[in-house]
Amino acid sequence: MSSPAIHTAPLVRIAKRDGIALWKSCLIRLAAVFLALVLSGLFIYSLTKLNPVDVYKAMYDGAFGTSRRTWITVREVMTLLCIAIGLAPAFKMRFWNIGAEGQVLIGGIVTAGMMIHLGNTMSTPLLLLVMGVASLAAGAVWGLIPALFKARWNTNETLFTLMLNYVAIQLTSYCVSLWENPYGSNVVGQINQQTRSGWFPELFGISCGLNVLLVLVLTVGMYIYLRYSKQGYEIAVLGESVNTARYAGIKPSKVIIRTMILSGAICGLAGFIAVAGADHTISVDTAGGRGFTAIIVAWIAKFNTFVMLLISLLLVFLQQGAIEIATQFGLNDFAANVITGIILFCIIGSEFFINYRLIPRSGKEAKGA
């Protein structure tokens, strides 16, 4: 057949690490961020001849330049974090819930519908409570459907949840045309703009105070749930091995259904927060891809909700910064996205060096016979 291979040894071997000291992993991650900034700098400079430092400064301004911008950034972080918290138990169970986008939209539709139809009929706190509960229930149903099919017929949850996103998007389109205001505009517009009925009120004198409060409660709650509750323990066991779970007397179908109800419900609540606490309207962009970004947040943080907070902050910072440099320097959105991409690539790529080490081959036995 073909000629025999030449006697050469591979230059480096890859071996899985047994474990890594915390400071080492932090150092690797910091190095990754630094590398990302250098690479993006090179990219910016080679395209535009702009000083990268100015560009980075503009990014910072975009996210935290004014107090208004700061609050928008915080609000965005909270929405993204809420979705990631919802995804965490599902992914920890190795249930690939790609359907957060749809679960958020369903929660958003229910919220918007109630704002329109029940707005001004009851006090805002009561309305908020009703909308919150309804969005939780709607998201739970959207999460329950794929879980039932998985538990009963072992369908592939990745495809199933993904497809449900499109169902949710179509439903949203339908509702938008149903509720459009003004007539013919094909957008819903600001709901209850005059009365602000069903809008999140100011809390502690902060416009997005309620968003922060709700999501931080969830952050702490989910952390405790996953770490210290029996159900969290069952999720961890099932995620590691279905056989071990069965051996321990855990019923996989029951845990799958229970966990997906929880996961969907929190994602639905994120739709409530996005509609009542931020946009005050509904459109197919209400989720805006955050259902997917949140997957990255959950995984990078390894389901530690406090780390998720930091990751969400980083991602939102990059996104807000990118919008700013796009306008300030006339770099278009895509250039900004490239920068985000480079930074994400480096951060995710650094995980490889945290999990594996490279062993250079010593030359002593590499001689041919």
């Binding site: 291979a5 591979p10 210290y228 509750s229 066991v237 071990t244 051996y247 007397g249 016979a369």
Partner: protein
């Protein structure tokens, strides 16, 4: 430079983390011979051959094929050198035909001509005496046919050196005989064949030469005609086998389990267990012997509530007098069995895939049994931690800490964690599957002593094992499984290795009458 060796390994070393799987192994494979690679479980046979077939890359040492040093990075490199391996677990696509599987991955110029390929396959089959239908789909095939397809696949690619990893483990005696006939034909055709095995009678029957590995190191080789099973055993084990496991006479045997007519089908609809009937008594160790895959796994999992049972009954007797309060376990889930108060412990074969959670520490693994206790919502980690510390101390588990993921521990320590937890549950029936597989001799003895201690305390111990010497020295009674059927229950003190070995491979027709 002419050389008589088809393959030569010089100083080949492979380590996995702290484990040295192969330590400076020198091995020659001659042209036109059948070489048996013999060694106990975990002696590094498969690892060594995987380096030859391109699955692993050696850390040190060199490989020469036909006298020339080569580098084998991938199975493709190995094929290019004429080396083909038939793995223990077949790598076939179920929905494709034999022909399609065989040509899969080949990069031949021109159009894919399945008819011509099928013709060539028939030629190969005729030449060596295989029986396989090229048009048959894999999912319609028996295990033996699948193995044939794997062998033909390798020959189709022009392999001159064939490596078979425990080829007879899944075959019936008749199929084994057929396989051996084919191997002899191939040898006559000048091909070199390596058989990885630990069955001595097959070694004596088929091979020209035997190379022995022990704990990753090369012990030596010997012509088959100059040796006998006893000598080979000594080479394999390093010294004449004198185990000296303490085996006190059972006292106060109380019936704990009564299994009647148990029949279980595996996922392919084949009977994994066929009308299995036996009793388990407290105060004794019941050994279960058999070739791997003869229903041992299904038997234990049936009792543990993890298998769907077609017919039969499993009764559990909780009272010490064997009284009236027996419980039927068939149809119960593992949780229901536990809730019914059945004191059953189970050390499964797949330690990290079923018995333990690899990513969790000892503490969290202790919880696997007990996490439902205590407060309604939150877990209690205090008692499991205490238990983990206790197991660590009593069984001398080597671990950096009770929160270190058990996956990072060595095989022996992993097993200690698992056995320690199962014994701590104070069982009345303790089932173990391959409890000492892959463990060093000291840890193995620790396990034997633990099991014997349990027996003395009146626990009914079920020990599924593969080492006959151990079964004969440890167990009070030995149940031999053959193709899912009970092929005799023997007295561990009076029976012989030959008797057990014979019953493992040959189904005795009129067994019921003899008892």
């Amino acid at each position: 430079m002419a050389t008589e060796y088809a393959v030569e390994l010089r100083g080949v070393t492979k380590t996995f983390g702290p484990v040295v799987a192969n330590d400076r192994v020198d091995l020659q494979i001659h042209r036109g011979e059948i070489l048996s690679l013999l060694g106990e479980n975990g002696s590094g046979k498969t690892t060594l051959m995987n380096m030859l077939s391109g699955i692993y890359y050696p850390d040190a040492g060199e490989i020469l094929v036909n006298g020339k040093a080569v580098t084998i990075h991938s199975p493709k490199d190995a094929f290019d050198l004429g080396i083909g391996m038939i793995h223990q677990h077949f790598k076939l696509v179920d929905v494709l035909t034999a022909t399609e599987n065989i040509v899969l991955g080949l990069k031949e110029p021109g159009r894919l001509d399945l008819k011509a390929a099928a013709r060539r396959i028939r030629e190969i089959c005729d030449k060596y005496g295989f029986a396989v239908d090229p048009e048959k789909k894999i999912y319609d095939m028996s295990v033996s046919e699948k193995q044939t397809v794997e062998i033909v696949k390798v020959l189709y690619r022009g392999a001159n050196i064939l490596i078979l990893d425990e080829p007879t483990a899944v075959l019936t005696p008749q199929e084994t005989a057929r396989l051996f006939a084919v191997l002899r034909n191939m040898k006559a055709d000048g091909k070199s064949i390596v058989i990885i095995t630990h069955k001595l009678h097959e070694v004596m029957e088929i091979s020209d030469r035997v190379a022995v590995l022990r704990k990753g190191a090369y012990v030596g080789d010997v012509a088959t005609c100059d040796t006998d099973p006893q000598k080979l055993t000594d080479m394999m084990v390093g010294h004449a086998v004198t185990l000296n496991i303490d085996r006190p006479e059972p006292k106060e045997r109380t019936k704990r389990l009564e299994v009647r007519g148990l029949t279980v089908r595996n996922q392919y609809g084949v009977k994994a267990l066929d009308d299995v009937t036996f009793d388990v008594y407290g105060g004794e160790i019941l050994g279960i012997a058999g070739i791997s895959g003869c229903g041992q796994k299904e038997l234990l999992e049936s009792i543990a509530g993890l298998q769907r049972i077609e017919t039969g009954s499993i009764r559990y007797f909780p009272a010490d007098d064997g009284g009236q309060t027996e419980k039927e376990l068939v149809g119960m889930s593992p949780l229901a069995i536990k809730k019914a108060g059945v004191a059953l412990s189970f050390v499964p074969e797949d330690r990290l895939g079923m018995g333990l959670v690899g990513s969790m520490g000892m503490t969290d693994n202790m919880m696997l049994r007990s996490y439902r206790k205590g407060l309604p919502i939150f877990t209690n980690r205090r008692d499991p931690k205490k238990l983990a510390e206790q197991v660590r101390e009593q069984l001398e588990v080597v671990t950096p800490g009770v929160n270190t993921p058990v996956r990072r521990l060595s095989g022996g320590n992993v097993q200690k964690v698992l056995v320690g937890r199962e014994i701590a549950a104070a069982p009345k029936v303790l089932m173990t599957a391959y409890a000492v597989r892959g463990l060093d001799i000291n840890t193995s003895y620790t396990i034997y002593n633990l099991l014997t201690a349990q027996k003395i305390e009146g626990v009914a111990v079920v020990y599924v094992g593969e080492d006959l010497d151990v079964l004969l020295e440890l167990c009070d009674r030995i149940l031999v499984l053959c193709s899912g059927k009970v092929n005799g229950i023997l007295d561990g003190r009076t029976t012989t290795k030959e008797e057990v070995g014979l019953r493992m491979t040959n189904l005795q027709e009129k067994e019921g009458a003899a008892q």
